[in-house]
Symmetry: C2
Subunit: 110 residues, 2 copies
DNA sequence: ATTATTAATCGTAATATTGCAATGTAACAA
DNA sequence: TTGTTACATTGCAATATTACGATTAATAAT
């Protein structure tokens, strides 16, 4: 199947899994880290920085953009990408809440 | 291809993406949330709680276990699962560091 | 011993993801 | 105009993921 049955889960669970899924590939992690590191915007340097072919990088960028985590700005022939800080922060809140569930109980079965 | 070229990324990037990937399915998010909520251990209630077939849940549990995020304990005919708190905390540290990159700069291209 | 219960594993169908060559498109340069 | 540069899109091959029926394995109950 390869098809997740999203209708049987809460909106929150689906949201978390969608964000997580986009981080589920090292190239996208690398792209995001590079955008953060460069602070300002970066463009096709990503193709050089990361070792994948241009269409591949373009596809990963598209996925990050469609989730709203990055923005792209056309500048002449090149396109400048950067983190969408507002959306990143919103995502961060959701993910942190999931990750930060209380672990301090000492009940433990195993 | 469907095959990530992990050799071209750092260990850290691959680690983040592996953790993220396991959260990239709502069923696994739901399983983890339920394990947290129940605090103590839960077993095949997960099959009832979540609406998927038993082999499907079993498969998701296996993935969570292989990453070390949960532990399973045989109790008679049933198996009791719980969060592996130590490993969860370690994972949390890695993921939070990734999510919490500095976003406060006002440099912005777009 | 036989049967029931619980969960893991196997096998397989349906679908998704990854990666890239080839091609398309848009802006700039000469 | 003719290239050139920088990206996006298309199409496709290879592989991965998801889901579940059927089966198996292990323990418990009778």
């Amino acid at each position: 199947m390869g098809l997740a049955k999203t209708e049987m889960f809460t909106e929150g669970q689906n949201k978390i899994s969608l964000f997580a899924k986009v981080f589920g590939h090292p190239a996208r992690v690398a792209i995001l880290q590079h955008l953060f590191k460069m602070n300002a915007c970066v463009c096709g340097d990503l193709v050089n920085e990361i070792g994948l072919a241009q269409p591949t990088i373009s596809q990963h960028l598209k996925e990050l953009k469609s989730l709203g985590l990055i923005k792209g700005n056309v500048e002449g022939t090149s396109v400048c990408y950067c983190i969408d800080k507002k959306n990143w922060t919103a995502m961060k809140t959701i993910m942190m809440e999931f990750l930060d569930q209380d672990v301090s109980q000492d009940m433990d079965c195993c």
